[in-house]
């Protein structure tokens, strides 16, 4: 990570937040920036569904195995502990970790050696966690921890910002809207996977490229795909992603 990379992310984020933006697209970009800035292998954001559980809303990669790993932590794992305590949780050597046997086994199987979870905080509440995976064992240094926490805070701000502030209940409204948008994305991935005969992991990239090239919001395009009003035929054959 260089200072200029950090500056770029700061400028990009500020630029997004003052405009009209799609919250899922924003959170997705943020997870990608986490990977770049913190030098980790993968990043994901999990939000409370306010019904006693955490749900994945965005990830730096839509690979099924990775999404499963995030989803596994809805009931056990570093994210849950981080969410519950409001403090960062790090496991620097996964294969040696005794806690959460199901999660650590699954993470090690995919090849991850370390996992970190940073809280998404809003005043006295914790609304979710930023989850980082690394193939290298070891802790995040102090500088990276601070940047990681700042990125988690930016995600929180983005969630609250993305629509005009309304009355009380705003947090619930935004959280539920974000979670529901994620369900919509999954449905749209399914529609595209079947229509274009591609893997669901690749369908997200098609959706996102489509939104960018047509200058449309990700969730609006996803709704149009689900409704069948948008066919989203790619002009190039999607290349398999590694």
């Amino acid at each position: 990570m260089t200072d200029s990379q950090l500056t770029d992310v700061f400028v990009e984020t500020a630029d997004t937040l003052v405009g009209d933006f799609d919250v899922l697209e924003f959170l997705h970009v943020l997870t990608e920036r986490c990977v770049e800035l913190l030098g980790v292998s993968a990043a994901g954001l999990l939000l409370t569904d306010q019904q006693d559980s955490l749900q994945v809303v965005a990830a730096s990669s839509e690979r099924t195995r990775l999404l499963e790993l995030f989803q596994l932590q809805t009931d056990q794992g570093p994210c849950v502990d981080c969410f519950r305590t409001g403090r960062p949780v790090s496991v620097t050597d996964l294969p040696a970790a005794q806690r959460w046997p199901r999660f650590t086994a699954a993470a090690a199987e995919v090849g991850y050696a370390a996992v970190h979870a940073l809280p998404m905080r809003l005043r006295t509440e914790v609304i979710g966690a930023l989850n980082l995976f690394d193939v290298q064992p070891g802790a995040l240094d102090e500088g990276k921890l601070r940047i990681g926490q700042a990125l988690a805070d930016v995600a929180t701000i983005g969630l609250l910002q993305h629509r005009a502030i309304r009355r009380g209940g705003i947090l619930t409204e935004q959280l539920q809207t974000a979670l529901n948008s994620r369900v919509l994305i999954e449905q749209a991935k399914g529609v595209l996977a079947e229509r274009l005969q591609v893997d669901v992991s690749d369908a997200f990239a098609l959706l996102r490229d489509g939104a960018r090239s047509h200058n449309r919001r990700l969730s609006e395009l996803a709704q149009a795909v689900v409704d069948g009003t948008e066919q989203l035929v790619p002009n190039v054959v999607p290349h398999p992603r590694g």
Binding site: T48, D49, Q50, Q51, D52, S53, Q55, V56, L67, Q71, L72, T74, D75, Q76, V80, F83, R84, T85, G86, R102, T124, E125, V126, R166, R167, G168, G169, T172, E173, Q174, Q176, T177, L179, N180, S181, R182, V183, L184, I185, E186, Q187, A188, K189, G190, V191, L192, A193, E194, R195, V200, A222, Q223, V226, D227, G228
Partner: protein, 268 residues
């Protein structure tokens, strides 16, 4: 070994059990879904679980006075499906008539939780609905979308004469019950048999991404809307006594395809 969210092994049908899980700063809660479903079944008193039973429980657990469910199917007008009393019926109809209010916003957006309709903000935002609802004796409206991603079934409204927000526990219960209304609407009365716990309808929430991916795939396979596709997926899981997410996993892995029924078979 139980699945990631602790689906009970042996009953053969997944019911989306949430994990027992603590909120930050709040003691561990018992299984919210089990507790609420038990209340719904008790409310049905041996009858088939229907929307009104779920709504009656939602009134009790949230401290509301009344509730209504309005459905909004594409290309048909919003329609009040059920209301618990005259006040609920009147206020729900007001929203339909004026085309504004928390429940109108919740039909297409996220929840609209309004602790006090008489504040200037609300009076300005809903100039026809807010004064009329207040005149009918309703100060607080909590409108919860009956929504599963791109599927918009309608809205569950909770009404209360007293101003004030829902607390965290009431809100969590209301969100679970809104999910339950979705399940009942999707499955129809025949699926929601209250006699055995294993017939508790699967919650349509996020938990298993493959369920939503499969829904999208089936909608293309059958050339139907996503809501019809999800209803088919759920019906298949019930009929074969299998976990919803396992059936969905088979669809996503392309081990299972839904084929449109030939016309002759449909008629027989």
């Amino acid at each position: 070994m139980p699945g990631p969210v602790g689906g009970r092994v042996g009953t053969g049908v997944v019911r989306g059990y949430p994990p027992v899980f603590a909120r930050y700063g709040v003691p561990m809660s018992p299984d919210r879904r089990l507790r609420l479903w038990a209340l719904v079944v008790a409310e049905a008193r041996g009858a088939v679980v229907a929307v009104e039973h779920v709504c009656a429980v939602s009134v009790t657990v949230t401290g509301a006075d009344s509730a209504a469910v309005a459905v909004s199917l594409r290309s048909t007008p919003r329609e009040v499906l059920w209301a618990s009393d005259r006040v609920a019926s009147r206020v729900a109809e007001l929203a339909v008539t004026f085309g504004e209010g928390p429940s109108v916003e919740a039909t297409s957006g996220g929840p609209a939780l309004v602790g006090d309709l008489t504040v200037p903000y609300c009076q300005a935002r809903w100039p026809a609905f807010a004064p009329a609802a207040a005149a009918s004796g309703v100060r607080a409206v909590f409108a919860l979308p009956l929504q599963i991603g791109g599927i918009h079934l309608g809205v569950l409204d909770l009404y209360r004469a007293r101003a004030g927000d829902l607390d965290g526990e009431q809100l969590a219960d209301a969100l679970v019950l809104a999910d339950t209304v979705c399940a009942v609407l999707l499955d129809g009365p025949s699926q929601s048999r209250p006699d055995e716990d294993r017939h508790r309808p699967a919650q349509p929430g996020l938990r298993h991404p493959e369920v939503h991916q499969a829904t999208g795939m089936i909608s293309v396979q059958l050339r139907v809307s996503v809501e019809v596709a999800l209803a088919h997926l759920r019906a298949f899981a019930y009929a074969h006594d299998r976990h919803l997410r396992d059936v969905a996993g088979d669809v996503v892995a392309r081990r299972l395809r839904f084929e449109p029924e030939p016309a002759a078979e449909r008629d027989s």
